[in-house]
Symmetry: C3
Subunit: 268 residues, 3 copies
């Protein structure tokens, strides 16, 4: 049986050494918190949305995160341009379809970007992933109304159809390329009481992808790191205010060795 902890720890060590630049076009709600997540873990965030600077930003970025949490037409256009540039440069793209399934604008934008931007990774909660299923249909809804298990079939389909990797995150996380699937355990349910914690998972995965080409390995490593962060934080907190402060601390203090020895990644 493969030891998935070892590569996870090694990728984290490379992030700390190289400080990869992660460009996010993301929603207003989480810009501050996801920038802090990236800085605390040792990566370097850039937030930029003006179409005029997408080319220059692409030239200095090591990964791109597209998060559709607070959309508007101008921003969608910049997302398209940024994805095109990342494809040309071979930089990994993480698509976070926030609220896909809740409104047509979001579902259509997420589906369009899924088709055209060739993301290395799509990370969402179960409802968001279900809304992207090629079978479509009645599975649309808002956050937290489906379980991870309910979305695993859709995740595999999406991964195969679009030649991507899909991560469904929740009480446990599943990462799949349609054939191979990994399960990441751990975490803490206080994550659900803080805004932007899903978005944070996406930027963490982007930093891991910047340092590891194999998207299944990278995403599983990033999510295992984040589960460990949640556990560390929960050991010092019983409510969401303190929990998030301690989570930011843990992003900084968890070592590659900690991750190597404590990551809980298993084959399905």
């Amino acid at each position: 049986m493969t030891n998935y902890g070892r590569p996870a720890g090694e990728i984290l060590a490379r992030i700390r050494a190289h400080r990869p630049v992660v460009h996010s076009i993301t929603n207003y709600v989480v810009m501050n918190s996801t920038a802090n997540v990236l800085l605390a873990m040792g990566a370097s965030p850039i937030m930029a949305h003006a179409r005029e600077e997408m080319e220059d930003i692409a030239a200095i970025s090591n990964a791109l995160v597209i998060n559709i949490g607070t959309l508007s037409e101008q921003w969608i256009e910049s997302m398209r341009v940024a994805c095109g540039l990342a494809i040309v440069r071979g930089k990994p793209i993480v698509l976070d379809p926030v609220g896909s399934g809740a409104t047509r604008l979001r579902t259509e934008t997420a589906c369009e970007l899924l088709k055209t931007s060739r993301p290395s990774l799509v990370r969402g909660n179960p409802s968001e992933i279900l809304s992207l299923s090629p079978e479509g249909g009645s599975t649309r809804g808002v956050d937290a109304i489906h379980t991870v298990d309910q979305a695993v079939y859709a995740a595999r389909q999406i991964a195969r159809t679009f030649a991507t990797v899909v991560a469904v995150t929740g009480e446990r996380d599943v990462v799949t390329d349609g054939n191979r699937s990994l399960i990441i355990s751990g975490g803490n349910r206080l994550m659900g009481c803080v805004t932007g914690t899903g978005c944070a998972a996406s930027v963490i995965c982007a930093a891991f992808l910047a340092e590891e080409k194999d998207a299944v390995t990278a995403a599983a490593a990033g999510l295992a790191f984040y589960k460990l962060v949640a556990e560390r934080a929960a050991a010092e907190a019983t409510a969401p205010g303190t929990f998030w402060v301690k989570a930011l601390d843990a992003l900084y203090t968890i070592t590659p060795h900690d991750l190597e020895t404590q990551a809980r990644i298993a084959e399905e």
Copy 2:
């Protein structure tokens, strides 16, 4: 004499059970902090401003908050659309006239929305409420230059004129429908040293309104809950950074029973 603690505790219990969805069109400064307030207290935040998705968002929301803290023309148009949809669906609207009185754009926008959107509740600081008075005139200014007492007469007038409920918040809070008025005591002055604490009061009231039709009762209950949050936080903090972290904790840990027994709501 009515015991206002009992219904307050009951409404909080319903929020925790139902997790009402609160849609905010709000300012950039407080999007993250008010989303965290709603999550910590047990409600479910949605932030969205694109006109194209207002209809879908309205369909899944239980209350709407309109906060004019960082205005621009496009956002005002989305506010109008969202209010129209909430009216049709009979969903409560909370209007937070941030900075009304400080600039004409804000005063005019707040007055227009007050007239056309039929809010269930208008919540503001004394200067903001004074700026909305039908008598208008020279009472305009920025934050904290008037006392709650100075604004109570205007609050009653506004409530009667526009058939709404007005909450003036500050060193103590007054909630009035123009005839009946309740006074909420408690809190802590460190609230004034953290940004978005007024905006947080508005989203808390929106969650309470989602679970209680009587707007005077709902707003008084929400504000009493928030005063208690401030007191709990201040018991563990002497400065604003720690204070806000502990406030987020208190939003999560205060029980319906705590609120029932400790709410300080009195008739005027």
Copy 3:
């Protein structure tokens, strides 16, 4: 030898007494955190970007901060208008050229505003300051790739060319008007692990400028205050989450006397 601690403490005392209003047109990432910095230290933040309200905001502001961290064309236009109004009213302007050097849009916007807005102070990290050098050239890059020492020559040139004061901040800070230069020591490297800490330095300087016309004295005092904040926070924290909470606390608890006796400002 001049004692720079005394005026620093006196300016802080005036800020606490007068609560100067600092208007920021700033990036989405730091709106919340810089508003909290200003409130915690005793100043009064206003965030507004709509062109229609620039005139009214200018009338009630004591200083203006222009921060180009998340640009778009509309916002640049509002920046121009706000600068014009501040010039007419004689209010100090602080220009924070976030990411200048990283993209042409940012470098050109920063250079244009430097030429036309006559800022009292330009504050940036070494790479940002180098990108504004009249000699231009190959010194362009992203955050943290140059040292403060490498940027001091450019800072002096910029100050002389544009009759402004330049602050280069980093492991130590240098404030110069092209002739006279002050060096501010202290601080803590955890500042580099939290987003918006450079932007926070700029709004702190703006509050100090609102109360002290001499821009070298004001900027040095503000930066010395901020170095002390970092030291206080680091005394209670070993990781960035807790560090920033404690920094907000320190902004509130450090007294004018503390600053007078502990500021570390020296002539070059």
